[in-house]
């Protein structure tokens, strides 16, 4: 019998057909990957399974039992666990209480049996091979440990189906390895796993079957070992997309725009590299390697505590972002919602936000000049927006990213720093953003790009600087680089038993 069977499910929200006639089958013990661009309907579909939303029509059954009409608690009791992208833990409570959230064992009056709860939590954690004291406060755990607690939460009652939504996005490599072992173990015990992700490498490593969603519809179901990367991408976007490396190469005799020599700042211990005009240098490395921090030091957000920073061969010590902006540097922050865009402002207001003096005459802002500039960028970067006055919040992630890019290009920088240029961006916009960045380099701009997405690093970079624990671990020419060679450098220090502090 099928573990999970979804038949012809439809879910509409005002104005959007989020899930459109989707069918999906998962067998017991199967690891089923669900992939698709942002907005393809993956999350909505899984929320329907977990009972958060109710479908407009269609059937959902678990082990042949109808699931429609059950709320979150009832689906959980039926054996469905969902581990969300955003954390669902309470920092102030213990591991055990988080695992048993809302269902702590106790007597009939609702008085909690603490010992029983801790013993139960301990058993679940040891099954997951997690070495954690159930009494520990969750706020003290690493992201990886917290993720394990999330999964343990799912195991706290009889589990038939677990839904993992982008589970590795905040994990280190070894934590992700551990997670995969646990997934395999659960699958071998007959638990079915729906694995929502857009990391191709993981899908090929962990899943048995892949379902691809696009615009709320299923565009393909494949056995993982009978498909390939290119086929899945084309199913996701509906067309073949190539991220071939750029043929254009920077002139090796071009002037050096930016040079770091043993630069130090908080969490940056020793960063040395240089960047020429017309060149794209990618900073690669694991989470917490100090890449973003290095960029922040260059941009004047993070105080420099030692070493040398040079722009055009002259020493440069920014006191704040204003200094760096005056020196011709623009930086796109990692989180466009948090530090980049004014989400409730219009496209136009965002494009001009970092360069208001340029549109000011006699102390007054010139609406006409702003309009001209904004529409120029909207066309050049192909921002899909109905008009310039549309709130940025209403745009897709890819278009938001383009608006962010426009905001900083508006200052005509000579050096552009981009932190995670395509995080949460659909594949189509990704291609556009790659093209834009390459064109900028072709026009002579110096680009420093931070990215955790290795295929992206390989596609964009002319030269790759790999960081590890606040230091530059090495440099690789893009032509000779592979994902493996980058990863080896990125984790080289971590494997050495060198901690002498």
């Amino acid at each position: 019998m099928l573990r999970l069977s979804i038949r012809n499910v439809v879910k509409t929200f005002p104005g959007v057909r989020a899930v459109d006639d989707v069918s999906l089958e998962v067998e017991p013990g199967q690891v089923h990957a669900l992939i698709g661009e942002n907005g393809a309907g993956k999350s909505t579909l899984m929320h329907l399974v977990a009972g958060v939303y109710r479908p407009d029509s269609g059937e959902i059954a678990l082990d042949g039992q109808n699931m429609i009409g059950l709320n979150e608690k009832a689906t959980a009791d039926a054996g469905v666990a969902m581990v969300f992208q955003e954390r669902s833990l309470v920092g102030a409570l213990s591991v055990a209480e988080n695992i048993y959230a809302g269902r702590q064992p106790g007597n009939r009056c609702g008085v909690i049996n603490v010992r029983q709860m801790q013993e139960g939590a301990r058993a679940i954690l040891s099954e997951l091979e997690v070495d954690l004291d159930p009494r520990t406060t969750v706020a003290l755990l690493s992201p990886g440990q917290q993720q394990m607690v999330e999964i343990a939460k799912g195991l706290s009652h009889e589990l038939k189906l677990i839904i993992l939504d982008e589970p590795t996005s905040s994990l280190t490599i070894s934590e992700a390895r551990h997670l995969f072992r646990v997934i395999r173990k659960l699958a071998n015990k007959g638990v079915s796993i729906v694995y929502v992700s857009h990391r191709m490498a993981e899908i090929f490593e962990i899943s048995d079957k892949v379902t691809v969603l696009k615009d709320g519809r299923v565009t393909g179901v494949r056995d993982t070992n009978r498909t390939n990367h290119g086929e899945l991408i084309s199913l996701m976007v509906g067309r073949e997309l190539s991220f071939e490396p750029d043929k254009r190469r920077s002139d090796p005799s071009a002037k050096v725009a930016l040079r770091l020599d043993k630069l130090q700042a908080d969490r940056v211990r020793d960063a040395s590299f240089s960047l020429r005009y017309g060149e794209i240098v990618c900073l690669a490395g694991l989470l917490g390697a100090g890449r973003t921090e290095t960029c922040e030091a260059i941009f004047g957000v993070r105080p420099i505590t030692g070493g040398v920073l040079e722009i055009d061969g002259r020493p440069f010590r920014p006191e704040g972002p204003a200094d760096s902006m005056d020196a011709g540097i623009s930086m796109l922050p990692e989180d466009r919602k948090d530090g980049g865009l004014f989400m409730d402002f219009s496209v136009q207001a965002n494009v001009v936000a970092a360069n208001l003096p340029a549109f000011t005459k006699n102390g007054l802002l010139s609406e006409a000049a702003m309009k001209v500039k904004a529409s120029e960028y909207v066309q050049a970067l192909r921002v899909a927006t109905p008009d310039l006055q549309r709130e940025v919040r209403a745009l897709s992630g890819g278009n938001q990213q383009k608006v962010l890019l426009a905001k900083w290009l508006c200052r005509n920088p000579r050096i552009l720093i981009v932190d995670e240029p395509t995080r949460g961006v659909d594949v189509g916009s990704k291609a556009d953003i790659y093209r834009i960045l390459r064109d900028l380099a072709g026009q002579g701009m110096a680009l420093l790009v931070v990215s955790s997405d290795l295929p992206e690093v390989l596609a964009l970079a002319h030269r790759i600087v790999v960081m590890c624990e606040g230091r530059v671990a090495g440099e690789i020419e893009a032509s000779g680089a592979t994902e493996i060679s980058i990863l080896e450098l990125a984790s080289s220090k971590a494997s050495e038993p060198e901690k002498a502090a």
């Binding site: 979150e72 608690k73 969300f84 833990l89 102030a92 008085v111």
Partner: protein, 319 residues
């Protein structure tokens, strides 16, 4: 480095810090004013002073753990006192039913707050600010001058002495012990942490967030009603202006006791220690003969410091 660690410890282990502060204040005052401060009479005064704030702090702590709060408690308190007073004096209720009527009226007003916040989705700050004004206006419509000289044996609740301390303290002690148990050990009250920590996740864990928050508001109302009925009994008069500004004192004590404005943290014993500290501070200032206006300033400064500690704790755990 070391200093940072110390502040961090203070910010994270709040009850321990409060015990230290309370002890320091007691020892300090005993040394400075050996004749007036460390007497059994003065101790009784301090403990009685914790009664009203302590009762209210239990309900407020539960609400704040769940990420809510209630500014209308002063209004509920006064209104409930008036209702109890009217019942006993004009409707001829015996003392116990009148007392209970006061408490229940508090519950009714609390349920109005609960409906506004959970059904009509009005922000708790705005909703209870509005009801504070409504309740205060309402109670003056009902009884413009208050109810004096209640008589009829009603004073038994507030004027009985046990071990040299008046009964309101013992009501408060019982409630603090009860709530400390409920909040630390029962499933229903533990839900507050999940709701305040992450309301969406709480919902997905099968917790009925709206119903639970509604009940928390009703409980807050019942406790404010109890405090009002007790005060009327103690004074033998239901005063229209009773509980004016009490919400400031209670929120200060609760935040001092470890609650965060964003919810998810706090304990009942922390809240009680916060209440005790406030009462000791006030007592110390009175004994030291400090101008009452300065006392108001001190309350404000204490609130700022405790919120500052909360911010610091959060920024340091995030880093």
């Amino acid at each position: 480095m070391n200093g940072n660690k110390l502040i961090n410890r203070i910010a994270t282990d709040r009850p321990l810090f409060l015990i230290g502060l309370n002890l320091a204040l007691i020892v300090g005052m005993s040394v400075l004013r050996p004749d007036t401060f460390p007497t059994s009479g003065n101790a009784a005064v301090v403990l009685l002073d914790t009664a009203q704030t302590g009762i209210l702090a239990c309900g407020m702590m539960v609400l704040m753990i769940a990420g809510m709060f209630d500014l209308s408690i002063g209004g509920i308190l006064a209104f409930s006192g008036i209702i109890a007073g009217l019942c006993v004096k004009y409707f001829g209720f015996p003392p116990i039913p009148a007392f209970l009527a006061g408490c229940l009226w508090g519950g009714v007003l609390g349920s109005i707050n609960g409906v506004l916040v959970t059904r009509f989705k009005i922000n708790a700050l705005i909703a209870t600010l509005a009801t504070l004004s409504i309740y205060r206006g309402g109670l003056q419509l009902v009884s413009g001058a208050g109810v004096t000289n209640l008589g009829n044996g009603y004073t038994v609740f507030g004027q009985t002495q046990f071990l040299g301390i008046y009964s309101p303290f013992w009501f408060m002690a019982a409630i603090v012990v009860l709530f400390a148990f409920l909040v630390s050990r029962t499933r229903f009250f533990r839900q507050a942490y999940y709701i305040g920590g992450n309301a969406r996740a709480a919902k997905l864990s099968g917790i009925n967030v709206n119903r639970t928050v509604f009940i928390f508001f009703v409980i807050m109302g019942l406790l404010a009603g109890l405090a009002g009925a007790l005060l009327a009994s103690r004074l033998n008069t239901a005063v229209v202006l009773a509980g004016q500004g009490v919400e400031l004192k209670v929120i200060t004590a609760v935040v001092l006791g470890g609650a965060s404005l964003s919810g998810g943290v706090g304990t009942i014993h922390g809240a009680f220690l916060g209440v005790l500290l406030m009462a000791l501070l006030q007592n110390a200032m009175i004994i030291a003969g400090i101008n009452p206006f300065w006392q108001l300033i001190v309350v404000g400064v204490v609130l700022l410091i405790s919120v500052g500690l909360d911010q610091f704790a959060r920024s340091s755990t995030r880093a």
